[in-house]
């Protein structure tokens, strides 16, 4: 998403009434009908149908097969690894996001624009390359390969590699949500807190964090969805060892390639539900953020 899009994502959405009541901005009825038909038809075919297909295919062979696919040991281990990966990657990038947004929005220094560009970098790198770079650094023939082998540490084709690749692809999410908001809020409130005698940590806890909590939550939600769903980057570094280095999306791929379609879609349906919960949470956060006054609500 662009910075502009993010800025209103956490902002007030205005209804269409003001356009439809105004003769100058109201479209003729037939134009409205045609535009809505095209837009919603496209929406239904490209977004609704694939979503529906996941659940229909998952239940094609009935509930028994569906549940069996989810409680099977390899599936359970994939779910566990996915949760573990997200539990490491999300807090790390949360910490980074707050630190980066703090330094970018509250201070002036040389090279700030470059820093912002670098933060966006992982978004424009193919997931496959995100996996490849860690193979080049930690793989058997990589920079640290011989050293790691000598000390019997496995990064590539093991859990640490999966976590690293996930941290890379989810790196920008929190920072990107915070930067436009904190830029708009300025530094007045923090300065006031300090002048009134607050310590640095008090200021952070009582002023800054309450001001950014909704954007922060939104960033964490997006970061988590991507962390649990990442496929390309993780696929390169995982080695696809069943029961050990398979995350949920990789498990879906294996089942699908073995023509166990119902089982593949059953695991996929869990990930689709995660996506729906993410969108629901996003809508809720937007609604909450638009309810609050822009500055300094008390917790």
């Amino acid at each position: 998403m662009s910075a502009a899009a993010t800025a209103t994502a956490i902002g007030l959405r205005i209804g269409a009434e003001r356009f439809e009541a105004n003769t100058a901005t109201r479209d003729p009825v037939w134009v409205k009908a045609v535009v809505l038909m095209l837009a919603l038809g496209f929406f239904a075919i490209f977004l609704l149908l694939p979503l529906a297909a996941v659940f229909v295919e998952a239940l094609r062979k009935g509930w028994v097969v569906y549940v069996a696919a989810l409680v099977e040991p390899d599936a359970v281990s994939a779910i566990r690894l996915t949760l573990l990966t997200a539990a490491i990657a999300v807090p790390l990038n949360l910490l980074f996001g707050v630190a980066a947004a703090w330094v970018i929005t509250k201070f002036d220094f040389r090279g700030k624009q470059l820093l912002i560009t670098f933060i966006d970098l992982p978004f424009s790198v193919s997931p496959v390359i995100a996996g490849l770079i860690y193979v080049l650094v930690f793989g058997a023939q990589g920079w640290f390969g011989p050293w790691l082998a000598a000390h019997d540490i496995k990064v590539i084709f093991a859990v640490p590699g999966i976590v690293l690749a996930t941290v890379f692809v989810t790196f920008p999410f929190v920072a990107r949500e915070l930067i436009p908001l904190m830029q708009a809020q300025g530094r007045d409130e923090e300065e006031a807190a300090l002048v009134l005698g607050a310590s640095g940590w008090q200021m952070l806890r009582k002023v800054t964090l309450p001001n950014i909590k909704w954007a922060l939550l939104y960033g964490v939600i997006l970061c988590n969805a991507r962390a649990m769903g990442e496929f390309g980057a993780v696929s390169v570094v995982s080695g696809h060892i069943r029961g050990q280095t398979n995350t949920m999306p990789l498990h879906v791929e294996i089942l699908y390639n073995e023509y166990q379609f119902a089982a593949a879609f059953a695991v996929a349906s869990l990930l689709a539900m995660l996506a729906l919960v993410t969108l629901l949470a996003k809508t809720y956060v937007e609604w909450k953020a638009s309810e609050l006054p822009k500055h300094g609500d008390t917790p």
């Binding site: 479209d27 535009v35 095209l38 490209f46 980074f96 790198v125 390309g232 879906v252 990930l271």
Partner: protein
């Protein structure tokens, strides 16, 4: 930093800048630099053979061609969706608005197998397309379908806020000067949206070029026909051709960086046109 006044400035500059730079270097910059350092150790001939063999060239044509086409399709339908969401009231609008982000939230592998199931020969859509002689799954057309899915929210979410902020006064002025509604849209509204549309196009294109998960299931992955560039990298890695994989990756990375620069420029243009702070 101005530390000259009596106020000592906000705390944490050194700590947060130090952490930001260290973390970013460890996670992003140093590993990324490995691609270029590894490529630099290759001979020119070896590099050229890896990045310009006919099979790799065919993959560039598919990846870039399908991405351009998908982004172009998304500009049209993304604009119509953004327009519907901002300008019209209709039942279910909130749900449509929330679900536009589905491609951001749905894991790519899930999207990939769902689209394949839809467009396969016996799928919901595939069986009807088969009758009129159109094959989607396991052809380049399948790649296009997956990339349209992936790119749609980029256009909608870039155009929507600009459209919301667009001053209705210019449309009122055009109407009072006697312009027909469609004339106003074509001559007044669309030019104002042009930077946002272009930004959305570039974002969707940049994402599509590197996309892997949603494409590989539906593409069929036939060499020279429906094999995308990211898959070439994976294939080379699986054959332990690390140098070859890295060389192709370096070509893709340079392309991404150029696109990133263009997108940054476009976003500044959008911001200056619509008068918002980016």
């Amino acid at each position: 930093m101005a530390r000259a006044s009596t106020f000592r400035g906000l705390p944490g500059f050194g700590l947060s800048l130090g952490f930001t730079l260290a973390y970013m270097s460890l996670i992003v910059l140093v590993p990324l630099s490995a691609v270029f350092l590894k490529t630099a150790t290759m001979s020119w001939d070896g590099f050229w053979q890896a990045v310009a063999s006919p099979r790799v060239i065919a993959s560039y044509k598919l990846s870039f061609g399908a991405s351009l086409l998908a982004a172009a399709i998304n500009i049209v339908f993304g604009f119509l969706l953004a327009w519907s969401l901002v300008r019209y009231s209709f039942p279910g609008k909130r749900i449509v608005d929330a679900l536009v982000d589905l491609p951001f939230a749905l894991p790519t592998a899930v999207a990939g197998i769902a689209l394949t199931a839809l467009y396969a020969k016996n799928g919901w859509l595939g069986q009807y397309l088969e009758v009129i002689g159109i094959k989607v799954a396991f052809t380049p057309l399948g790649v296009l379908v997956a990339l349209v899915f992936i790119g749609l929210p980029f256009v909608v979410r870039t155009v929507q806020p600009v459209l919301e902020d667009l001053d209705t006064e210019i449309e009122e002025a055009a109407a009072s000067l006697g312009a027909k509604r469609l004339q106003t849209l074509w001559r007044v509204v669309l030019p104002a949206l042009a930077p946002a549309l272009l930004t959305g196009f570039a974002l969707a294109f940049a994402r599509s070029v590197g996309e892997y998960g949603s494409v590989i299931f539906i593409a069929g992955n036939l060499p020279m026909v429906s094999e995308i560039t990211p898959l070439i990298i994976i294939t080379k890695l699986e054959q332990y051709d690390y140098a070859g994989a890295t060389a192709v990756a370096s070509v893709m990375l340079v392309t991404s960086f150029v696109l990133l620069l263009i997108i940054n420029g476009l976003q500044e243009w959008t911001a200056s046109r619509s008068g918002r702070l980016s």
